[in-house]
């Protein structure tokens, strides 16, 4: 009964176009009024204490860093480098979009932010060069998913906190799977480009041109070294690393490239408050929802249900993947992680799945959710900045979606891809 209220009202509120954060809070409140004796004060207390956490502050800081890097001129140089590297291949612009998204992923923790940073330049460029606009937007949207797999990654931070898994280990675990997704997308877009005769736009730049592009991008290329090197070198925690990235971006923008004015800096902070605020409010209110689930023993029930069905690790992982793809189509990543981690993590650890490996599976699934309708944030962003209708994008996304699914299967059934780097370095 309580569960029906909780999930039923959530679906209703989301359908009514109420923000996801508020829908989560409202459904918790509805349940408290009609079907639970937990006190009303719980919602507000959780909304304060869930934010009163140092590790979780990595999220606003990484968002701020990403925004300031665009304003500092860093993403522009990464694009130039990507074009110099792969722009002369068949479908070079698509290849460069994927590669630039991978580069940008290494400095941004967010999928939609990656789409915005790369797509705002690449979608118009592809359209100008006679690429199908649906394909242009869909390649940008799918490549943006890599943003949350290659570290830093906001969903990994949320998973690490919810599942009590080291955030540092999660970041390392994402590197190889992120590269695999990138390569897979490159292979598929090569085939599509060949079929549609998307020839190269850029001439080969030669070794000299390449060195120049690398040199121009060196301040950008240093960021992953500073951030990840700092975390694994024991110099700072993930949250502190994010702040170092912020200070670095300000320094490069103001003093090295000198492309950022003080007004840009203020605007960057204001923009990040908006993006971080809306994300963190989802977290703050999703916790109340998750609290009621725990009180109602939902995680235990689901766990029993799954293990009664099968105790085979491979079967359970398959079931969970199908379930997560379905969930990812409807729910945003952050609230999905908060709600699902306590439900699924005990089940998979019981059959011997490494919590770090499971984190990568979970986030990879939800990253695919970024590009599946009806709720796919990357689709919305690509549609907005590329001026392409969602329907048009969805039609061209199918082959790329298959590329993502193949990557997901590899990530799920070859644990080594996720666990090798954390085990090697930690």
């Amino acid at each position: 009964m309580t569960i029906a209220f909780l999930f039923g009202s959530l679906i209703l509120y989301i359908a009514l176009n109420i923000p996801i954060a508020i829908s989560l809070g409202l459904s918790a409140l509805t349940t408290l009024i009609f079907a639970s004796n937990v006190s009303y004060g719980m919602i507000v207390q959780q909304a304060a204490t869930s934010l009163n956490s140092f590790p979780i502050m990595a999220i606003p800081f990484f968002m701020l860093a990403g925004i300031l890097m665009s304003k500092a001129g860093i993403s522009k140089r990464l694009l130039n480098l990507a074009n110099a590297l792969v722009g002369s291949f068949t479908g070079g612009l698509a290849q460069a979009t994927i590669l630039a998204s991978m580069f940008f992923s290494a400095i941004s923790g967010s999928g939609p932010a990656t789409v915005a940073a790369i797509g705002s330049f690449m979608i118009p460029t592809m359209k100008d060069n006679n690429y199908d606009k649906g394909f242009a937007a869909s390649i940008t949207a799918t490549a943006g998913s890599i943003g949350v797999i290659i570290p830093p990654s906001i969903p990994f931070v949320v998973y690490g906190i919810t599942g009590e898994v080291s955030i540092g280990a999660m970041f390392l675990a994402g590197i190889i799977p992120g590269i695999i997704i990138g390569l897979m997308l490159m292979i598929f877009s090569y085939i599509i480009s060949k079929k549609n005769n998307y020839s190269a736009v850029y001439k080969r730049v030669g070794i000299k041109g390449l060195i120049k592009a690398i040199n121009d991008a060196k301040w950008a290329l240093m960021i992953p070294i500073v951030v990840l090197g700092g975390i694994y070198g024991g110099i700072f925690t993930p949250t502190e690393a994010a702040v170092i990235a912020v200070v670095y971006a300000i320094f490069v923008g103001l003093f090295v490239y000198r492309e950022m004015s003080l007004k840009d800096l203020y605007d960057g902070f204001a923009e990040s408050c908006l993006v971080a605020g809306t994300t963190m409010v989802i977290i703050a209110l999703a916790i109340s929802f998750s609290y009621l689930m725990t009180v109602e023993q939902v995680p235990r029930t689901i766990a029993n249900f799954i293990t009664n069905f099968s105790e085979n690790k491979l079967v359970i992982l398959l079931l969970i993947n199908v379930f997560l793809i379905f969930v990812g189509a409807f729910i945003d990543t952050i609230s999905a992680i908060i709600v699902l981690t306590p439900m699924l993590l005990p089940v998979v650890t019981q059959v011997g799945v490494d919590p770090v490996h499971f984190g990568v599976i979970l986030v990879a699934n939800l990253a695919i959710g970024f590009v599946t309708p009806p709720v796919g944030v990357n689709l919305f962003v690509a549609s907005n900045i590329g001026l392409v209708s969602i329907e048009r994008i969805v039609r061209s996304i199918i082959p790329l979606f298959i590329a993502l699914i193949i990557s997901l299967i590899l990530i799920t059934y070859i644990p080594f891809l996720s666990t090798f780097l954390p085990e090697f370095f930690l």
């Binding site: 309580t2 590790p55 009180v295």
Partner: protein, 320 residues
């Protein structure tokens, strides 16, 4: 959790549903004893009280938040270390003072006697009722540099402490570089060397596998950590006298069982972490005195907040 009001009306009896939240894992003495508490209370009240346990921080990951939730009436009960209560009541810091208790026996005597009574008496105005004191036990220092034999060996070590002045100040005086850190980040921070050292009871070191990322353990017994079973005061006062009595009695039984289990577990786990390869040294009486002398100078510093009477009372009990 719904519909209980109906069945209560049918039988003409008041029913109470109590949720107990705590951060320790299901392997720990606190959980094992809480299971017995639940069983006994439900049995003796004939089902008029039902209890749900929420171990491992599944409802509240922080003890401070859990205590606040009990105070605000968002959850009925918690079992928490007493240290976070210093945020509500300064006097509770007394338990955390360095080298306050010479051994477990004197800690039990103080907390089950006058000192404990005085502290419990401070809780009701804050909306809390304290039922009994359990323990996490004496805390030890672990690090990656070498055995700690004198304050010099602590010099410059980045050590993770709990977020209470009563823990931070002594380590500053002993020459270390204490800094609080979220517990969830501790393992990685030690592994990667962001922190060099930590201090915790053996049970916590073992259950969080922290000995895997630390090379040396010093038996310093520098702080004692007590736990307390808290219930929302208004709720407790609403209960019929017979239920109150049962809960109070079983809370005292909980305390005895938990302490017994805790000391068994501690001995067992102390062996286990040594077998896993952590190198152990024990402070000799002379070495211990050096730390203690410095620690005692801080008692005056906390006098304003804690009150001289309470400090003297604790010392007096411990010395007898």
């Amino acid at each position: 959790s719904n519909g209980s009001d109906n069945s209560a009306a049918n039988r003409g009896q008041e029913e109470f549903e109590l949720g107990i939240t705590y951060v320790v894992a299901e392997t720990q003495s606190t959980h094992l004893a809480a299971e017995v508490f639940k069983e006994k209370v439900e049995e003796r009240t004939d089902g008029r009280v039902s209890i749900e346990l929420y171990p491992a921080g599944s409802l509240y990951a922080s003890e401070f938040d859990a205590s606040e939730a009990v105070q605000l009436g968002n959850i009925e009960m918690t079992i928490t270390a007493t240290s976070p209560l210093a945020g509500f009541i300064d006097e509770f810091m007394v338990i955390d003072l360095p080298y306050l208790f010479s051994d477990a026996e004197s800690a039990y005597e103080a907390l089950d006697g006058d000192l404990g009574d005085q502290l419990l008496g401070l809780l009701p105005p804050l909306g809390l009722k304290g039922l009994s004191f359990g323990e996490t036990g004496f805390r030890q220092i672990t690090n990656n540099r070498g055995p700690i034999e004198s304050p010099d060996d602590l010099s410059g070590l980045r050590i993770r402490t709990m977020e209470t002045p009563a823990h931070i100040r002594p380590f500053q005086e002993w020459g270390a570089n204490p800094s609080p850190l979220a517990f969830g980040e501790l393992y990685t921070a030690l592994q990667q060397g962001t922190y060099d050292a930590m201090e915790a009871p053996v049970s916590l070191i073992y259950s969080s596998r922290l000995h895997e990322v630390q090379d040396y353990l010093t038996v310093s017994n520098h702080f004692y950590t007590a736990t307390i079973m808290l219930i929302n005061d208004d709720l407790f006062n609403e209960m019929p006298a017979d239920i109150q009595e049962i809960i109070q009695e079983e809370a005292l039984a909980f305390k005895d069982l938990q302490r017994e289990l805790a000391s068994e577990q501690e001995a067992e786990w102390f062996e286990a972490i040594q077998e896993d390869g952590i190198q152990v040294n024990e402070l000799s009486d002379d070495q211990r005195n050096v730390f203690q002398e410095i620690g005692l100078t801080l008692y005056d510093e906390f006098e304003d907040e804690i009150g001289r009477d309470l400090i003297d009372l604790a010392i007096e009990i411990s010395e007898n």
